[in-house]
Symmetry: C2
Subunit: 481 residues, 2 copies
């Protein structure tokens, strides 16, 4: 997976399709009206709904992939895999609803001898937070878009979902939304359970509407920050879960370098340039003991076409900014692809990074990387000390490498996922996944946007005190033994 | 427990004791320096530390309670009970650290057949979020102050804690902090693990300092909102967990009224005026089928002394505001206590509340309540529909009362804890507790500030991918069978 860092998310204009004020109001009214009936569905009904959408998307696979290829320029095999991932993800949440693992409860029976004084019977469950606004990303037209992780986790929690379509794939967004809407209606979910809106203004209006109770976003730091600011400045602030920027540093230890330096360089380039570098887990920074030797081992491929012109433009600006920072030099430049975009590798010393840690926030969304040369373990530690929050950090370790374990522990202070002798691109969807990290990686560092734990973002705990069984929610009733 | 709604929290001046810029910088530097060693303590070491503080506070019980009584005017028995609660709470977190229940992990072994493609070995644990700034409350000088729930849960998570003392009990704060600091040092925790600061300006500076990574607050909507705004407007926004206002509505169903109306009225007055009404779970609003009959059954006690003059002043302003709202009339007024404060009960119709839902946000921190008369089930539902977020909601039900179950379900849409045939004051500390709710009850509706689940506010998940056992955190290693 991985999610877009498209800097055009909040500025792109596609006025001819923008949702009108009146239509938006109808969408929000329907979402609000759907909140209660959706909250009262049984978990199995929501599982049925997610599986119905999964079947519908599978059924429309050929058409959807063709549309996606046309609008995003991503290769068919990649899009097929992404749709598989998307359908799998929906089914994984459905399974977690059926087995109860996604609906945590806790029962404390009354205890007259509780140490602070008698304890009443107290039972906690989770309820949906209410209508959720989802901002779709451009770089995963299925897995992080209309029926991506945010939408699926929010629906699983029982929240109505309003998706702001990404203008990078408008027709695919509409086609996907039609499948979702029809499938949800067929299993009897309320009409307002799902809707698609278009346009920046409509999305901002929705974000500040009191009927919207939480939001999920995947995109750039710039765009995400602007929306976060709107969400928290409401008269009634709401949770805004933004997955923003990351340079996903890779540390190559001296032992790893000595044992398999060329393979590491090749592996890094592969991960850096995968999908023309349009992944938020793209390892944009690599720390190595010998810059010249490392960059000599780098061979850059010709990038495929980018998602859309805005990304080409943003990449040009970002690489130009990066290249003009103190101490930064161009080390390797590849040949240009169909958009005129060439993969680029810059180099800088660890000392220059420590003097200008801002360098570690300059994400160039695309096939560009920064090689940081460290001249000893202390200098390596100094760089890790100034590392801003990241989605991932990777250590390339030798066979017997105590430094690597130390580096992993230091990376864990700043990142959501630490990868050992592998690459950060390719994010599995599972229960143990953590896709998040301290600012600027995300706005909410205690949550994840990938994996089944993503559902907790939309679940509000409620405790019931002293209730008779007849009035308790089903999941809180004592089981007959 | 329950926490202060003291509106003076962010305006009170006690300049002679304010922490200086230089001292604050030293405190924050020490907290920052302590973050790594504290994060690396074993859970058992942190449990030892919490228990050491608990023993120290027990050892100093007589002195601390005497100081608290002097500074807060709360009765000795209440303060004794609160200290017991505080010590119990620390031990409960310690127990959760020892048995592992507060440190959730998840292991997904590698799976070549995972439905979206081969899954790497992925294991998730939690790490401390970093130094936490705690704003102490005035109304619980032990349980929500220097070593209250926020401090204990953050230390349990492994976070250094900086507490902003509440000016309502400065000497007690200092005396408590001395006990905490000495006990933590005695068990070998780093010096910066805990510190006390004083003064509004120092706390604002700390809140915007990049070394502070999260904050916990208990107090008024006004004060909490100002601090929330500071926290989220930082260049690097941080989580701000504010427990703010609540009117904690009670619904008396017609059946409950018919069966035991006088008892319900007496119970309500008891909960409303407990501790001079200085509880954030104080049931400030009660919905009844017959206002006149209900208020006739109300007998108001003479309030004891309030916590401090700022609360007396705030109560006067709030009751005056409440009494001047459209349709609101004074129904019962008690005799004045030592501060000149009299308990007051106002009355209003459900129709006037629906026309002016703002009424349900007018919390008067003290012994004042609003009786809302509803003239039928639909009118009752209309009021519940416009209810802002609350910490608690209570239903007083009859013996066979389907409406009560419906009301409980409606309350659950707006509150963190629903109480059945009991009263909301008195909040037990346990695993199932949920003390929180949608805005304006809190700033983070998916979290709790009471109960062991409060620790999750300070825990950041981190996943480890493809790690050899030697480099994994202990808690993620495979157990030998």
């Amino acid at each position: 997976m991985d999610a877009t860092e498209d800097t055009t998310q909040d500025t792109h204009q596609d006025t001819h399709q923008d949702t009108t004020r009146a239509d938006l109001d109808a969408v929000l009214a329907a979402a609000h009206a759907a909140a209660r009936p959706l909250a009262r569905t049984a978990p199995g009904e929501r599982a049925d709904a997610l599986e119905a959408v999964a079947r519908a998307l599978e059924g429309a696979r050929a058409d959807l992939v063709a549309l996606a290829a046309e609008e995003t320029h991503l290769p068919q095999a990649r899009l097929e895999g992404e749709l598989t991932r998307t359908v799998f993800q929906a089914r994984l949440f459905a399974a977690g609803l059926r087995d109860g693992s996604l609906l945590p409860t806790r029962v404390d029976h009354a205890d007259p001898d509780w140490g602070m004084g008698p304890r009443p019977d107290l039972r906690r469950t989770v309820v949906p937070i209410g209508p959720v606004l989802v901002f779709a990303a451009s770089n995963f037209p299925f897995a992080f878009s209309v029926f991506g992780g945010d939408s699926v986790s929010a629906l699983a929690a029982g929240c109505p979902v309003v998706v702001k379509a990404h203008p990078g794939h408008p027709r695919l967004s509409l086609a996907t939304a039609r499948q979702v809407t029809a499938a949800l209606a067929a299993v009897g979910l309320p009409e307002g359970a799902f809707a698609l809106i278009e346009g920046v203004e409509a999305s901002k209006t929705a974000l500040t509407d009191r009927r919207v109770r939480a939001a999920g976003f995947t995109g750039s730091v710039h765009g995400g920050r602007a929306l976060f600011d709107l969400a928290v400045s409401r008269p009634d602030p709401i949770p805004f879960h933004g997955e923003l920027g990351s340079v996903n540093p890779v540390v190559v230890t001296p032992a790893a370098w000595a044992e398999r330096g060329a393979d590491v360089a090749t592996g890094w380039v592969g991960s850096l340039t995968l999908g023309a570098g349009q992944f938020c887990t793209n390892p944009g920074v690599v720390l190595v003991p010998d810059v010249d030797a490392f960059t000599s081992a780098v061979e850059l491929p010709v990038p495929g076409p980018m998602l859309h012109p805005g990304i080409v433009e943003g990449f040009g600006a970002a690489t130009s900014d990066l290249g003009s920072q103190p101490g930064v030099r161009t080390a390797v430049e590849g040949a240009a692809g169909p958009d005129g975009v060439a993969a680029q590798v810059f180099a800088v010393s660890a000392a220059d990074v420590v003097a200008n840690p801002h360098l570690l926030e300059l994400e160039a969304f695309g096939p560009a990387g920064l090689v940081v040369g460290y001249s000893g373990e202390d200098e390596l530690r100094d760089v890790l000390d100034v590392l801003p929050g990241q989605l991932t950090g990777t250590v390339q370790a030798g066979a017997d490498d105590p430094l690597a374990a130390e580096v992993a522990a230091l990376l864990a202070e700043h990142v959501g996922r630490v990868v050992w002798n592998d690459w950060p691109t390719g994010v599995t969807v599972s229960a143990a996944q953590q896709h998040g990290g301290p600012w600027p990686a995300t706005t909410t560092p205690t949550t994840t946007s990938v994996g089944t734990a993503a559902i907790t973002r939309w679940q509000r705990p409620v405790a019931f005190q002293g209730f008779p069984a007849t009035a308790l929610p089903d999941e809180l009733k004592d089981r007959t033994p």
